[in-house]
Symmetry: C2
């Protein structure tokens, strides 16, 4: 991957990010639209590796917060994003020297690229999850001791809120009800960091990884089985690995409930030939896969649903009855697998009864 | 009334403020406790008349926000109040030169006294309502063109939020869901003002008025009918007037629903001798009195329920089945009666079907 993100890379990047977003993190079509327009207007974005970040750099995140179901209909703008970041810069008295994504997802890794382009700032090749998660405290930044607050939230009316909370969980608790009041989605900037803090807490290489995943998905048609190339690539990426197809079949039932600022639900998938049934549960992101009641994969491992033919990732809000899909799983980045991490982003953090075990190779 | 508020004045002030708070604005017992402790520790508070406020003075409000039912159980502290005001001072870069109450009520006019004592600042003899109202946009400050935001909210954990909203209604919409997240009550500071803005928008003389009302209530026992002195005083106060007993009887039914950060409900009162029945509806504050279906009084006029024997005001959360009560009404300050004001704090603003008419003298 080159040192710059250019317009030509956007489609692959958005597709790959949507896959790593495990159902959440926003629609890649919208993410790509936003990003393409920004790069065409403002030019390529310089990608920054950890070694090039100075200790005292002021690094800001930008993300959309809310149920992805809403983000599809209520488009986000860079102007709203700018209100959120500028309010935080102003509050802290420190202008941004670089931008970093909070999570990897179809919108939430594309928005920071577009925003960095608009501001003429470098983007760090990394994020705070190495995937997507539904809550603010579920970040490697938090695990690394970086404070989530002060954080800012902005809406499309130019209104904004600055939250000063003592813990990331408390920032989550205060910001979530505001998402609804701000119109079910909002632009946020949280975890303002120094370069030193970024280096010690981010999951690095995820922009590279998303681009490679997107390329592997685009190249699917030359293969016997469309998902083979993607699975091979994931197994080759040191950040992930442990990839396999967990289940393949047709979607036979779907439940979605957009409440409390998230979309909760589950997707039932039946084998085309065979009697096995899989249930994928989600809260914005896919959380677990049970096949005939047996756990095949659970957070923080990545669980993504892709179209069996095109290999394209399907986000939570894109799931439809009758779709032929393959459920692909792979290991979470190692930093999400520690005992400390599992308390914050493991099964129990989502109220799930399962014990985390990394996906087993067949 | 002297130029200083002293410990000896607290009980009368709290009682009078609770009466003018028309059922809301908090419990006078708690307001008096908080205030007495502060004045004993920090000394008397200088009361400031409009003429003594300099144009460039930086005037801040402090208030409790939330359902009064909660404020009774979850006590407020001056430390939390300080977080809210200091956060706003810091955000604006302007240290406070005076404090003003946002509304008159058992807690919400006592808290600013206590806070002014702690900070050694003068308190302006006035507020933004001349009574209490349940929503942030329902102030004379708003009618006078003062912006509600930036506003701050603080909880007992030291967490706080700064809201920048384009209208007072929007500040209300954004802050209300946060009240629940902050524990169903929060300390807020809103409508930061210059001295010039205070002079052109506040309802003045309400601290004086509350003190006089409290004294009249204390002196009730020397009279044939306990409420006579209070009604006479209200009719003598130029700010109010039009006072009378709207109904007298026994509480026979009560409904309360603490949702969305407010307490909604109604209180049914039956005559002791006679068949008439009155219904008082409230949203934190008493909104209307209907006697056998006929409107006797409606917001913005003041409607307060007092104990028939002691003449002490009963707040919304203090109402109990079987209480012998007198419903006393009086006119709202004139600034709340204009056409513009009625849109913001008249019957339609509360979803009531009535047309506002000032209480008629019998």
């Amino acid at each position: 991957m080159p040192d710059f993100i250019t317009v030509e890379m956007i489609d692959d990047l958005a597709t790959g990010a949507a896959f790593l977003g495990t159902g959440g993190g926003g629609d890649p079509y919208i993410g790509a639209l936003l990003c393409r327009a920004a790069l065409e207007e403002f030019g390529p974005v310089r990608l920054m590796e950890p070694d090039n970040i100075s200790d005292e750099a002021a690094v800001y995140t930008i993300a959309g917060m809310g149920a992805p179901t809403i983000l599809v209909e209520k488009l986000m703008s860079l102007e709203d994003a700018d209100i959120a970041v500028r309010a935080l810069e102003h509050h802290l008295g420190k202008p941004a020297s670089a931008i970093i994504a909070a999570e990897i997802g179809g919108i939430n890794s594309m928005l920071p690229i577009a925003y960095a382009a608009m501001r003429g700032l470098p983007l760090i090749d990394g994020d705070g999850m190495g995937r997507a998660f539904p809550s603010l405290q579920m970040t490697s930044f938090n695990l690394g001791g970086v404070a989530c607050a002060p954080m800012t939230m902005a809406d499309e009316w130019g209104d904004h809120v600055i939250i000063q909370a003592s813990t990331a969980q408390r920032a989550e608790d205060l910001s979530r009800p505001l998402v609804a009041a701000l119109g079910a989605s909002a632009m946020i900037s949280c975890y303002p960091m120094t370069g030193r803090e970024v280096r010690s807490s981010a999951v690095f290489g995820t922009m590279h990884a998303a681009y490679a995943v997107g390329q592997a998905i685009r190249d699917h048609s030359s293969l016997d089985k469309p998902t083979d190339g993607l699975i091979k690539l994931l197994n080759d990426l040191p950040l992930y690995g442990g990839a396999r197809c967990l289940f393949e079949g047709k979607i036979t039932a779907l439940e979605r409930d957009t409440t409390r600022g998230w979309v909760f639900g589950q997707c039932t998938i039946a084998q085309l030939q065979g009697d096995e049934v899989a249930v994928v549960s989600f809260q914005n992101e896919n959380l677990s896969v049970l096949v005939d009641g047996q756990l095949r994969a659970v957070v923080p491992d990545l669980i993504s649903i892709v179209d069996s033919e095109t290999c394209l990732p399907i986000t939570t809000e894109g799931l439809r009855y009758g779709q032929r899909v393959c459920v692909i799983g792979c290991h979470a980045p190692r930093v999400l697998q520690t005992e400390q991490a599992l308390k914050v982003m493991g099964p129990s953090a989502f109220g799930l009864p399962h014990i985390y075990e990394p996906i087993k190779q067949q």
